[in-house]
Structure formats: C-alpha cells, structure tokens
C-alpha cells in the first residue's frame, strides 16, 4: 500500500490521526497533517484506508 497526502487540501480536522496514528500526525505550527509512513506496515493498512474514507477534505488517497 502507498499513501499519498495532499497538505494543500488538508484542513487539520485530525480525523486521520484518530484513524491511524501510526501513519499520520499533525504539524505543530498549524495542525496540518503529516505522513509518518508512506508505506504503512500491514497492521496499519486498515487504519490508513479508514483515514482516506473519512478525511473531510479529500486530502488522502491510498493505492493498494
């Protein structure tokens, strides 16, 4: 799996961090999401998929 995050679209809702803290964090200065693992380990894949489904700003895509 490959995760792509578009920081320009991100609104800092934090939804991805709740879904998948192994894969996403937020920048200290403005709360915009950062990608911790572009290729998540197998046990974090479902969380990353959920993050992509839930992201309100459509800023996350996953390629299987």
């Amino acid at each position: 799996m490959k995760v792509v995050l578009d920081q320009d679209r991100c609104i800092g809702s934090g939804q991805c961090v709740l879904s998948s803290p192994e894969v996403f964090d937020q920048r200290d200065d403005d709360g915009i999401a950062v990608l911790l693992a572009e290729q998540p380990p197998a046990d974090a894949e479902e969380g990353a998929r959920e993050a992509a489904r839930i992201c309100p700003a459509l800023a996350i895509t996953v390629a299987e």
Binding site: I11, G14, V17, S19, D30, G31, A57
Partner: protein, 404 residues
Amino acid sequence: MAEIVEELPTYPMSRGRCPFDPPPELDRLQDTEPLSRVKLWDGSTPWMVTRYDHSRQLLADPRISSDPRNDGFPFSNAAQSQNRGQFNAFIVRDDPDHAAQRRLVTADFMIKRVEAMRPRIQEITDGLIDDILAGPKPADLVETLALPLPSLVICELLGVPYADRTLFHRLGKTLLRRDNTAEQSRAASEELRAYLRDLVKRLDSAPDDALLSRLIVQQLRTGQMGIEDIVDMALLLLIAGHETTANMIALGTVALLEHPDQLAALRDTDDPKLVANAVEELLRYLTIVHNGRRRVALDDIEIGGRLIRKGDGVIVATEIANRDAEAFPDPDKLDIHRAARHHVAFGYGVHQCLGQPLARVELQVVYSTLYRRIPTLALAIPLDEVPFKHDMAIYGVHALPVTW
C-alpha cells in the same frame, strides 16, 4: 408554479414522537425523493439533500459556497438574511480566504494539543460532579455540568474570563434562536461584539498565553487582521466552543437514560476505545445541528440524475444523512458498539468542525465519568416534560432536572 411551491414541505420540520429522531418528513424525503425542494420562511425553494452519499459529495464540492453574500443563499430566518455581512468569520467564507483564516487557529485544536488538555478536562468534570453530589436534589444537569464544563474549557483556551459567562451564555442563546427578529439578533450580536472588542483591547495591553492573545500579537499588531476580524474569530470560537458540546452532554444523557442497556454497557467498560466509539455513535444518533448545512451553488452541478443550477440554494440535512441505512444499518437504533466514525455530525468538506477533537475529548471524559460517579442518575421529570430545544438552531435541552 405557485401551486407546486404551495405543496412543497416547509423546512425546518417538526419532529415526531421520539425526541431523538429527525422529523418523519425528512425520513420520507430520504426514501422517496432524496434530492427535492423545500420551502423556507421567505418562500424560497432551495434543494433539500437527505442521503448520506449525496451529502458528502455536495459538502466536499468546491462549486458549493458557504458565503451568504452569494445570491440564492438559503437563510435560516429574517435575522440571518438582514444581518448578512455583520459576521465574517471563516465559516461564512470560501477558500482560499476560508483556509487562510482557519489555519491561524487549527493548531490549538489538533489532536495532541487537545489530548494534553485531557487531565484538566477530567479535573474540571470531577469538580463539577463533586458539587452536584454535595448539592440539592433534583439538580439541573445543564446548569451544573453540561454548560459549565465546555464553557470553562473554551474560556481557558481562548483567554476569555469565565466570570463573564452569564453575558455570553445569554447572548449566545439569543443568537441561536430559530425565530429571532433581525432587531433581536442585531442587538445581541452588537452587545457580544462590544464585549469582545473591549476584551481584545484589554488583552492587547496585557497579553497572556492563550489563543486570543496570540492572535492579537501575531495578527492584529502586525496589521494582518483588524480588530473586527479578531472579534469575528473570538465570537465564533466562543459560541461554537460551548453551545454544541453542552447540548451533546445533556441530550446525550437523556438518550442514554432512555436506553438503559446502552448506558450500562458504557458505564461498565474500562475500554477507552468503546467510550470513544460511544461518543461517535451519540454524535451520529443525535446530530444536534438540525438546521441543515446551508450552501449555494456557484455553478451547475449534476448529482443523482438531477441538475442543481448555479445560484440554487442547497440545504444538506446532516441530521437525516446520519440516519441513512446505506451508511448505517438499522440507523434509528442507538448502538454504542457500531462503527459510526464516518458520520457527518461535524459536517463534511473543508468546513468540517474545527473544534471536533476538543468536543470528542470533552464528551469522552463526561460520558466515562458521570454515570460511574452517579450510577443511580435518573430524570427527575417525565421524558415528555423535558424542555427540548425545538426553538433553537442547535438541538438539545433547555434544562435537565436529574436526581439520584
């Protein structure tokens, strides 16, 4: 044409017998005519969007505007219509202005910042419950817990004196009434703005570490924001920061008391994941923002075989989208074990709630504490005598007499 307009259902609609369920008419529209028209107070006939997938699609569409200065915007009442332009925070702006303003305050509400506040939120909650237990029975849960907790937390976060709560509670309540006249709304807004303007000036001469002072130092003093811009931001964060969570605490408690099996499961768990899940389910089930998400189309949009034309008003009724069986099987059932985090109770698209991480932690703390500390908690009046907020833009209860 006049005859057709006459037959359209009027929005907002009345709820049916169950105080937790959305109006039956919305349910009917979702089943039979998911993209239809409704009639508003001023005779305008915006689109009514009731399905979950349509709701998400439209709220995330950049051709849909939140800016009430655009022609065709579906106003909630005469007050909103006549006072447009008075309030100019990012929730009534589109990108790129919206994003630029929102990003100034996003960091304060991000997950790790809010998680760091959890011990303080727990401490406040414990103290308020101590006071309830030491006080007279029955107690009004709204006045003793639901309103004080989020008010205190947002005051500390913003740097607004909690001692001034009577003023901003009263004015916030007036601004959220569905049947406000333009005069009532303008007077309340002016009074609140005057208070906040004065506060901003005081903070400018003696800044602290809280959010408003940082905005003053970084934006006001550098000329990037004017004082009215700071007042807009303060007003938005202060009102949205307490009214919403307060209603979820009180209404959530009524819902749980009416679903004792769910309340027992929540009270008996030591699993923070189940508590967090219960919060998501209650957010979905109750969807307290029951005035629709109001938008206007900036371009023609094809959706579900219909054509929304440029300039058409659009109301996305997230209160019924969250009861769509396609997204939530057996949607009218409150089930704290179900997967519910994809709900749209916080909205969807770039305007999705800024304060959602804070609301979540506040609700997790309250729901995991209150029913354990007061296991015999019960309504002190019959359910049908509870004053539900049918008259407010945000649903909840005006008061909640409880005993134990």
